[in-house]
């Protein structure tokens, strides 16, 4: 099956600076793909090129098998976009802003769609308020409602839950998953690793304009082999720290709590060694690596 979004050798240069460096990826219909990377990695530039707001220096973008040179109107009528950092018209009411967007996308049942997503994102009571009077969280919800109005085939989301209260952020994630069930394809740029792990089928990790990793969130997290062993010490704290340092494990001490970072294959070795040294602890927990650990690892490597 042909991918719904296919990017080949996409490059964007601004003078000497290479914002996006020869990236290629594709997204299948109904997939939710996370676009991760540190600030300035090239995520937003990639999204802007996918929206034809920035012209690529080279490379090819195919959306639903079409390209922007020939079918800009058709493509954009089936994509929508939302970002926490983009404003709608401040003087218009929420309803007028949404109505304007339905006109731009040629939505036939505009009023029904506005009512529907007004309810979904809990903004129906804000319809009469002018945009500039809204809080940051309310603006984000309006921007999200706007992104769903035309029932897009592809949805591009840039930090969709930044500035939202946890309960509303959860509601948004549920709506993203529900939209996937309806067949929508989503590209999600986010710094919220837990969110990406929760909703994304696959992650593209971008750094310095290049895709440095592409896999499921679970597999990427596994690439970080260090696990954290947390011990609440009863006896032998000094012996534990001395052993960990001697063995070359990263160690953090906070009051009676000791955290030791070890390769997952060394957990048994660590625990046996502590038993031999007659160390006593009242609690033990082991944190598996997360996508956030992978993010930190790759970001550190990128800065070197």
């Amino acid at each position: 099956m042909e991918p719904i979004l296919a990017v080949k050798h996409l490059t964007k240069r601004f003078g000497d600076f290479i914002a996006v460096n020869d990236i290629s990826f594709s997204i299948k219909e109904g997939e939710i793909v996370g676009l991760l990377g540190p600030n300035g990695a090239g995520k937003s530039t990639t999204i802007f090129m996918l929206l034809d707001l920035t012209t690529p220096t080279s490379g090819d973008i195919r959306v639903l098998g079409m390209n922007y040179a020939d079918d800009r109107e058709k493509i954009l009528s089936r994509i929508n976009y939302s970002s926490t950092y983009i404003e709608l018209s401040p003087r218009l009411t929420v309803y007028e802003n949404l109505l304007f967007m339905t006109r731009m996308y040629g939505v036939v049942n505009a009023r029904e769609q506005i009512e529907k997503y007004g309810k979904v994102f809990n903004i129906a009571d804000l319809f009469g308020s002018q945009q500039y009077r809204l809080s940051a969280g309310q603006k984000t919800r309006v921007a999200l409602a706007k992104a769903f109005l035309n029932e897009p085939t592809i949805l591009l989301l840039d930090e969709p839950t930044a500035s939202l209260d946890p309960d509303i952020a959860d509601l948004v994630r549920k709506e993203i998953l529900a939209s996937q069930a309806r067949g929508m394809t989503v590209l999600l740029a986010s710094h919220n690793m837990a969110e990406v792990e929760e909703v994304c089928d696959r992650v593209l990790f971008i750094d310095h304009g290049k895709i440095v990793a592409e896999d499921t969130p679970e597999e990427l997290a596994k690439a970080v082999r260090l696990v954290r062993v947390n011990l609440m010490m009863k006896d032998g704290q000094k012996r534990t720290v001395a052993f960990a340092k001697k063995a070359g494990f990263g160690t953090t001490v906070e009051h009676r709590s000791v955290t030791i970072e070890v390769d997952e294959h060394d957990i048994a070795y660590l625990l046996n060694a502590l038993a031999e040294k007659q160390v006593a602890y009242s609690q033990i927990s082991i944190d598996k690596p997360t996508l956030e650990d992978y993010f930190i690892k790759v970001s550190k490597e990128g800065r070197r």
Binding site: L53, T55, E73, I86, E87, S89, K146
Partner: protein
């Protein structure tokens, strides 16, 4: 051209204009201010030069036509720069909206504001200074159309500069029309200009329109050759300005300026 989208653009800016008291103020305040000052000045000139017939009417006619040009050169640019201030260009151009539809929409809004402003001005001039619009006759229509067209050409160039150099050059929105004013011979005949000034004046469509207006108000027939040259130049400049604007927009997308300025 998708007229549904054009209508959406018109509706949006009509709502915005209605809401923003400063924009309403802008439609009324400047024309009234200019009319008031120039009206008083014309009345004074009529008093000190009673042997110069029609001087007050000619000056008032000039200021009214000038306000068409002045507003046309600013209104469209202001809409665009306000969208830049509001960081809303991304939302607008991430939709299927075409540049031509956007321009069409904001020009219709600009014409509407222009009409409101002009009607108010004509009404005020007739009440305060007994100015009669009939003294310009049918010539009023081609004159206003021509001046609006030139104003839009200048506006497109201003917007191109905004897209190219960013909001630091937004001062040109207000200054562009005044740069053309001395050579357009709004308040004096072309013969008053020095030879080099006349050469510049002859390249401006506005010069022919204001020259013709004075003739008409002094009872002469419309100089059709001058009117024809004016329209020819207007069409040429408008097409050129449109081309420059499209190039500037495409350039902004290449430089990433469209999203940075939003």
């Amino acid at each position: 051209m998708n007229w549904g989208r054009v209508l959406g653009v018109i509706e949006k800016y009509m709502h915005e204009s209605r809401r923003d008291i400063f924009r309403v103020f802008d439609v009324i305040w400047w024309p009234v201010f200019q009319l008031f000052v120039w009206g008083l000045f014309s009345a004074y000139l009529q008093q000190v030069s009673p042997n110069t017939p029609n001087i007050a009417s000619v000056l008032l006619g000039a200021i009214m036509l000038w306000s068409f040009f002045d507003r046309a050169s600013r209104d469209v640019s202001i809409i665009v720069v306000v969208e830049m201030w509001n960081r809303n260009l991304i939302n607008i151009f991430a939709t299927p909206l075409k540049l031509s539809e956007y321009l069409m929409g904001i020009m219709v809004v600009a014409i509407t504001k222009l009409m409101v402003s002009a009607l108010f001005l004509v009404f005020l001039a007739s009440v305060l200074y007994a100015f009669r619009i009939e003294s310009i006759g049918w010539y009023f229509i081609p004159a206003t159309v021509g001046l609006t067209m030139l104003g839009w050409s200048i506006s497109l160039i201003t917007q191109s500069c905004l897209l190219r150099f960013g909001q630091s050059v937004e001062v040109f929105i207000w200054a562009a029309a005044t740069l053309v004013q001395p050579f357009s011979c709004v308040f004096y005949p072309v013969s008053s200009l020095p030879p080099w000034g006349k050469m510049i004046a002859m390249t401006l469509p506005s010069t022919y329109l204001f020259e013709n207006m004075r003739g008409v108000m002094n009872g002469q027939p419309v100089d059709m050759t001058g009117l024809g040259i004016s329209f020819g130049l207007n069409v040429l400049y408008f097409l050129l300005a449109l081309w420059i604007f499209y190039q500037a927009f495409a350039g902004a997308k290449v430089r990433g300026a469209l999203v940075k300025q939003s």
